[in-house]
Each structure stands twice: as structure tokens, then as C-alpha cells.
């Protein structure tokens, strides 16, 4: 082999490394990639960054996860763990290493679970199982609350404590069921459909927090359908605030936690009830007092009407009339007397004028016969003895 006339260009190591790096970084599929493998050589130095090697039967890949991503991760890594790592491929130039700069790590299978979740969610949504119109109102004051959960979990204890505190009047119908594992879905369906539970006013379907696999029974199609077809309104309280299961979408009301589910199942508490009773009690008191005082008022008004119509008043007015009449009578009588006495006076004067005594006073005399007293008005009537009456007396005379 003849040496070339123009030898190939010679790169510095740095220049070549730079070119390789450019090559890798310009490949988009290498900058957003999921890689599955087994963790080995896991190391967590004090810096907080995480270093490990991902390997399978034939190859290995150096990986690094910076502190900030590592802090966000829920999963606890162990050597030998089969995982899916997301990140981008880059070059660590000082050592000529290509490696995966990881930002997310999930257990193998979670991706498949997530896809199954999305597929089932879309399907059930299309069927209308999650429609808002399907949601029924939660009764305000339930008498019986059905609970479907594990009989041994902390979730049950939390819910019972909450119910005891808020509304100890309710009766809890507990239908225990395993809440994780392959037996959980059919057991949950059976529990939800248990005949005795159908007498409850509302059902709480609950489970405490756990990993996505732990909560998986609540994404099972059979369970979700049982929730959607329940005759009794269902409140779901599965996992923590951030966990959403398909049961949450199918339930009439989604609570972030079991405790919150117990709170939402008892919108009216025993304290509210006590306040209501005491309000009602004061209402009947004030209504009764108002009734009595209104009756009192009508009584008083009737009494005054009665007083107005009383015969006493009539008697008074009659007696006044009598008085009036008697006053008028006496005044009439008095006038009459005066009138009469004036009349009498006049008559007296006329009588006096006619009196013979007045004639006698003028010098005339009345002569009567002594024997029979008859008046002598003619000479022939004269007798021997006669009486002569003058104004102040009489005397006897003899006929000569």
C-alpha cells in the first residue's frame, strides 16, 4: 500500500470527541429515549448524583442521574433491579465515555400499565361510563354507609375515626375485600354487589396509599364497571391526592384520600344537627310565645269591645235621659206655677174690682131684712127692722 500523496487530516482527540458528540446530540431519537435494563454498579456519592450501569445479556450502558432528577424520583433503586430509564445520550469527554443522562426511572412494566390504563380509560369514556350526567348526588344525611376496603388497613381505621367524630349516628356496613393482588378485582366486585350493602345510602370504596401496582385493582375493568353500575352512589377514596384510578372517574364523587371520602360522605355533622335541634327548639318557643301574645291581644280587643257594648253604659245613658226629662218637667211645672200665679193675681184684682165692698167704700150700703136676711132693693120690701151694711161693718135700723 502506497502512502497517500495527501495524508488524511489528523484530528486532535478533543476535535474528534467533539465531532462524535455532535453526531450523537443531533440524533433526536437518542435525545429522548427509554432504555430497559438491569441496574448494576449503583453508586450514590455525597454529591447527590446517582451513577449506575444499565446492562442486559450482551451490552452495558453507563448512566448518570443528576441530583435534581434523583430527588424527584419515588422509586428506590437497587442493584439487580430491572428498570426503564429515560434520558438522552451524551459524551463524557474526559474519559471518552458515551453515557445516558437519565431524568426518569420506572419499574419495567409500568409503561405497559400506563398504556393499558389510557386504553381502558378511553374505551370506558367512549362508552359514557364517566359522563358527568351519570353522577348522582351524595345524600346529605346518610343513615347507613357501606364501606368496601381492606378490613385490616389503616384506611379503614382512619375512615371509622372520621365517621365517629363527624356523625356517630350512622351505621357502617363494612364489606371487607382484598384491595391488591389478582384476587382483589373479583372480590371488590362481589363486595360492591353484596345484597346487604344495597341497603346503604352511600358506599365508600377506599384504599390507602401505595405504588401504582398496589392500586391497580382499582383500574381493573370489572371493578370500574361495577362502580359505574352500582345502584347506590359511590365515593371513591383511593391512594393519595395525586393518584387517579379509573374507579375515581366512574364513581359519583372522587375523594383524594379515604379520610376525605369519609368526610364527603357526611356533609352534615353531629354538631350541625345539634345546632339545628337547638334552633328548632327556640323556634317553637318563640312561635308559641307569639301565638299566646297574639291571642292575648285579640282577647284585650274583644274585652274592650265588650265594655263598649256593656248595659252599664246603656243604663247610664238612660238615667241621663231620665234626669233630662225630669229637669225639663220641673222647669215646665215651675213656669206653669208662675204663669198661674200671675193669672191668679189678675183675677184677684178683677174680683176686687167687682167686690161690693168697693161700692160700699164709695158710700153705698146694703140693706137686708133682719128676719130673713133678704136684700131690700125696693121700698115695698122694707120691713120694720133691717140691717145696713157699710164698708167697715153693719148696724141695725128701724123703719119709721
Amino acid at each position: 500500500m502506497q502512502p497517500s500523496l495527501f495524508p488524511a487530516q489528523t484530528f486532535t482527540v478533543s476535535k474528534l470527541t467533539f465531532l462524535i458528540r455532535k453526531l450523537l446530540e443531533e440524533n433526536e431519537s437518542l435525545q429522548d429515549v427509554w432504555v430497559q435494563g438491569e441496574i448494576s454498579n449503583l453508586s450514590r456519592p455525597a454529591s447527590g448524583h446517582v451513577y449506575f450501569t444499565l446492562k442486559d445479556a450482551n451490552a452495558s450502558l453507563k448512566c448518570v442521574m443528576w441530583k435534581t432528577s434523583a430527588a424527584r424520583m419515588k422509586l428506590t433503586l437497587r442493584d439487580g433491579m430491572e428498570v426503564e430509564v429515560h434520558g438522552k445520550i451524551g459524551i463524557y469527554e474526559p474519559q471518552g465515555l458515551y453515557q445516558l443522562y437519565a431524568d426518569q426511572i420506572r419499574p419495567v412494566g409500568e409503561g405497559a400499565l400506563y398504556q393499558e390504563f389510557m386504553r381502558l380509560k378511553a374505551q370506558l369514556e367512549a362508552e359514557g361510563l364517566f359522563d358527568p350526567e351519570r353522577k348522582r348526588p351524595i345524600p346529605e344525611l346518610p343513615r347507613k354507609i357501606g364501606i368496601v376496603t381492606s378490613a385490616t388497613g389503616a384506611a379503614l381505621r382512619d375512615m371509622l375515626n372520621t365517621l365517629r367524630r363527624r356523625l356517630p349516628l350512622v351505621e357502617v356496613l363494612l364489606t371487607p375485600s382484598p384491595v391488591q393482588g389478582v384476587d382483589a378485582p373479583p372480590a371488590l366486585v362481589k363486595a360492591l354487589n353484596s345484597p346487604i350493602l344495597q341497603s346503604s345510602d352511600v358506599i365508600i370504596l377506599a384504599r390507602g396509599g401505595g405504588s401504582i401496582e398496589d392500586l391497580w385493582a382499582f383500574n381493573d375493568e370489572r371493578v370500574v364497571r361495577a362502580v359505574a353500575s352500582s345502584n347506590i352512589p359511590i365515593i371513591s377514596g383511593v391512594g393519595h391526592e395525586t393518584d387517579f384510578t379509573l374507579c375515581d372517574f366512574a364513581a359519583d364523587l372522587r375523594a383524594p384520600t379515604p379520610t376525605a371520602a369519609a368526610e364527603l360522605a357526611t356533609p352534615i355533622t353531629i354538631q350541625d344537627l345539634a345546632a339545628t335541634v337547638s334552633n328548632l327548639n327556640s323556634l317553637i318557643l318563640s312561635s308559641t310565645l307569639a301565638l299566646i301574645s297574639s291571642k292575648q291581644f285579640s282577647l284585650e280587643s274583644l274585652a274592650s269591645q265588650l265594655r263598649y257594648l256593656s248595659p252599664a253604659r246603656l243604663i247610664q245613658s238612660e238615667s241621663q235621659r231620665v234626669d233630662e226629662l225630669s229637669r225639663r218637667a220641673s222647669s215646665a211645672a215651675f213656669n206653669r206655677i208662675i204663669l198661674e200665679s200671675k193669672h191668679l193675681e189678675g183675677t184677684g184684682k178683677r174680683l176686687e174690682a167687682l167686690s161690693p165692698l168697693a161700692v160700699l167704700a164709695r158710700g153705698y150700703a146694703v140693706v137686708t131684712r133682719k128676719e130673713d136676711g133678704s136684700v131690700v132693693s125696693r121700698v115695698a120690701q122694707a120691713s120694720d127692722e133691717m140691717k145696713v151694711r157699710v164698708s167697715d161693718g153693719e148696724f141695725e135700723v128701724r123703719k119709721s
Partner: protein, 83 residues
Amino acid sequence: MPKASTKKSEKPIEELTYEEALAELEGIVEVLEGEQSQLEEAIKLFERGQALAARCGVLLEAAQLKVKQVAGDDVSAFEEESE
């Protein structure tokens, strides 16, 4: 409902459930607020209302969460594990 319950359910007050007592009490309030009642009747209603309110209070005071465990078609008392 409250209307019907004032129509002389006249069950002895000690036998009423909380809901029955409360419903009757609400009915009595409604009647008394109507101011149509006879005085004697009103006083009787008031007395019964007070007894009902007291009954409600006692029931609230004494309320104990009843937990029953459902297993198939059977119901039994549920024993909580003590802490």
C-alpha cells in the same frame, strides 16, 4: 313528610329515632309558625316539641358509631383492632 308526622304519630317519645323526632319537631315548628292553631293545641304542640328537641339532644349525645361486618348474606358486629 313533616306535615304527616305531626298528624298524631303520638308514638311515645322515648321510642322515636332521631330522624322521626327531628321530622316531627320540624312539623311542629311549621304548624306553630302558621299561628292558626288553637291555644290549647299550641301549648300541647310546644310541650311535645320541647320533649322532641330533648329527645334529639339525648340521641345525639349518646350516638355511637355502629359498625357491622358484611360477609356474604350475613352481618355481624365488627371488632376493631385496638391500637
